[in-house]
């Protein structure tokens, strides 16, 4: 009996030791991978930062108004932001790779899911970022064009354009992420439809005068030209 216990214990201990001996190298490997991952991620960050600086990415995002956005959110410059993001994603990936080496059951599955998810996350972040830039750029362009063309309510136009683009971007992001696709589609449809309805009602009710003016101006154009001499700026 005692022998049996001892032998069992020994066996268990041996197994534990064996298991531990089995596990230890994996742990080492994991740590090594994590360290290597850090090195590679840092390198990636460095390279990306250099490339973006060279490509004057800051200026680009500044032109598009993204820097303003970032400033307001008290975030670092867009170059810095992007390179940091890449660093973390890369390193996280390596750590998870290391973890999977540990061979912990269940974890494996989650890790592989994470890896499958990673590109999607990346793309959707990308879409989101540039979507915001585009929204701000185009809304401002519309604002300026409307002001210079002397259209009524330029601010409204600009905000509508921004909203539409952001909604569109968000729906794209969610679709990319595969989250609540149906819900999002529905929501988008509802919001868009509502906006169109609102616009048409607004135009119908509030725009009667406007439409009249518009038509008048169109028809009276010839007369106006006779009445008014245009001045050439140059």
């Amino acid at each position: 009996m005692r022998e049996m216990i001892v032998s069992e214990l020994t066996q268990a201990f041996q197994e534990l030791a064996r298991g531990f001996a089995h596990f230890l190298p994996r742990l080492m490997v994991m740590l090594i991978i994590a360290f290597l991952g850090w090195v590679i991620a840092s390198l990636l960050k460095f390279i990306l930062r250099s490339i973006l600086r060279l490509a004057k990415f800051d200026k680009l995002s500044e032109n598009a108004g993204a820097s303003q956005l970032l400033n307001q959110a008290a975030l670092p410059s867009s170059t810095e932001l992007l390179s940091r993001f890449v660093f973390w994603v890369a390193w996280l990936g390596f750590i998870l790779l290391g973890v999977s080496v540990l061979g912990i059951v269940g974890l494996q599955e989650h890790v592989s899911k994470f890896f499958l998810f990673l590109p999607r996350l990346f793309v959707s972040l990308f879409i989101f970022f540039f979507g915001l830039l585009a929204a701000s750029f185009f809304s401002r362009a519309a604002l300026l064009a409307a002001v210079n063309a002397n259209l009524p309510a330029p601010r409204l136009l600009s905000i509508s354009i921004r909203t539409i683009i952001i909604i569109f971007v968000l729906s794209m992001v969610f679709e990319e992420l595969g989250l609540a696709e149906q819900t999002m589609l529905l929501a988008f449809g509802i919001v868009f439809g509502a906006m169109m309805l609102a616009l048409s009602i607004a135009f119908g009710v509030g725009g009667r005068d406007l439409a009249r003016q518009f038509l008048e101006r169109r028809l009276a154009r010839r007369k106006k030209e006779e009445r008014e001499d245009e001045l050439s700026p140059l």
Binding site: K59, E228, D229, L231, P233
Partner: protein
């Protein structure tokens, strides 16, 4: 990277046939069939009368006309195959045409003309606008003779204009280039001008062409290149100039071409203008300044309204371009009634300089900066028209001169905000 050639093979073949010339007249066209006929007639008469012995060529850089403009130009050749009109010429006069692209771009047109001028080793070149219906044959010698006979490098025109025409020129381009670069050039952005072969070659060799801004408004870059490169400039009085088909809706493109290019040029030439700027007069052939006075009806009210709505609506845009003080001042003005509204010269100059600095720093899209300027310019125009409604030629000239002084006085302010954050 191999540079893309601006010359098509067909154009090159035509240039081979033209050969070396003394005089080149360029014509940037785009659907100008309505007006180009008399213009080319005048050019040809000018060449044959004033430069009968010189080898000359007329080159049409066309932006993809659909109305047969190039045919009208090439039909003006004088040679032994086709006997042209009543003009007698000693020499063959080639009038050739090339299409540089499907979309018109004055910069590319000018580049084509410059490239042709360099290949043909033209000593004196002129560019004539195809819609200058008031052109006389005399314009050709007036633009070219200072170059061929007096060794000038750039001849800019002086026109007889209506006193309210060319307001952007008088309120911004002329005073600002004068203040920045120290030359009294009445028309820094001209649709007619003459230049020497060496200036043309030097300008062609610059790297402005790689930049997007080179697609339009290159004429002003040429002027600035001539000033900063130390070339000899003069002005020549041409006569009346009437713009056809320019309505106020063209203001933004016009500003892009002129103000945009001027602001853009400030960057590369910073070392030149930041250090020195002694004001130099430019020799002028013919009278220096002439205006006509026929009454015009202008919708000033609309200018005022567009200014007010612009200031109101564009506040968020202005806040990133203008200093807080200037913006506040503009907003205060926008709240005034039409009768009390006045856009003083000093504030206008400050506005322009702040825009220039913001353009340099690219606080937002540069094109948006230029667009945002249009409503403010309208406000300034409103004031200018109001102040000079009954002004005589001298009075107008005086008020322009005052504005110039204002631009000159505030130049240090531009230098101050050029690099620092306001």
């Amino acid at each position: 990277m191999a540079e893309e050639s601006v010359l098509t093979d067909d154009f090159l073949r035509q240039l081979i046939n033209v050969g070396e010339v003394d005089i080149l007249v360029g014509l940037p066209t785009y659907n100008n069939a309505r007006t180009v006929g008399p213009v080319i007639e005048a050019i040809r008469a000018g060449i044959v009368k004033s430069f009968p012995r010189e080898r000359a060529v007329i080159i049409d850089a066309d932006g993809g006309s659909q109305d047969g403009t190039p045919d009208l130009v090439t039909g003006a050749s004088i040679n032994d195959v086709r006997h042209a009109s009543n003009l007698y010429a000693l020499r063959t006069l080639h009038s050739i045409s090339t299409q540089y692209s499907d979309t018109p771009a004055s910069g590319t047109a000018l580049r084509t003309i410059l490239a042709a001028a360099e290949l043909l080793r033209a000593r004196a070149c002129a560019v004539i606008s195809p819609d200058s219906t008031t052109i006389e044959p005399e314009w050709i010698p007036r633009l070219l003779r200072p170059i061929s006979h007096e060794d000038f490098d750039l001849v800019t025109p002086v026109y007889r204009r209506h006193k309210f025409e060319g307001l952007l020129m008088r309120n911004l381009l002329y005073p600002m280039t004068r203040a920045i670069y120290g030359r009294r050039l009445r028309e820094p952005y001209a649709s007619e001008f003459g230049f020497s072969g060496r200036l043309g070659s030097q300008f062609l060799g610059q790297d402005v062409w790689r930049h997007e801004a080179s697609r339009t408004g290159t004429e002003i870059s040429l002027t600035i290149a001539a000033i900063t490169g130390g070339y000899r400039l003069c002005q020549s009085f041409l006569g009346p100039k009437i713009h056809t088909d320019r309505s106020s809706s063209d203001l933004v493109p016009a500003m892009r071409q002129t103000v945009g290019t001027l602001f853009w040029s400030l960057e590369a030439t910073f070392p030149a203008w930041s250090t020195s700027a002694d004001l130099q007069t430019v020799p002028t052939h013919g009278c220096e300044y002439e205006v006509t006075q026929e009454p015009v009806r202008v919708n000033r009210k609309r200018l005022y309204e567009m200014f007010c709505s612009g200031v109101g609506e564009l506040a968020p845009v202005f806040s990133s371009i203008l200093s807080a003080g200037t913006l506040a001042e503009l907003q205060r003005m926008a709240s005034l009634s039409e009768g009390d509204f006045r856009y003083p010269a000093e504030l206008w100059v400050r506005t322009v300089y702040e825009f220039a600095a913001s353009y340099h720093k690219s606080v937002i899209s540069r094109d948006h900066i230029i667009q945002a300027m249009a409503p403010l310019y309208r406000g300034r125009m409103f004031t200018f028209l109001g102040e000079n409604r009954d002004a005589s030629a001298e009075e107008i000239e005086n008020s322009v001169e005052m504005l110039c002084h204002e631009f000159e006085r505030l130049k240090p302010y531009l230098l101050e905000i050029w690099n620092g954050r306001e």
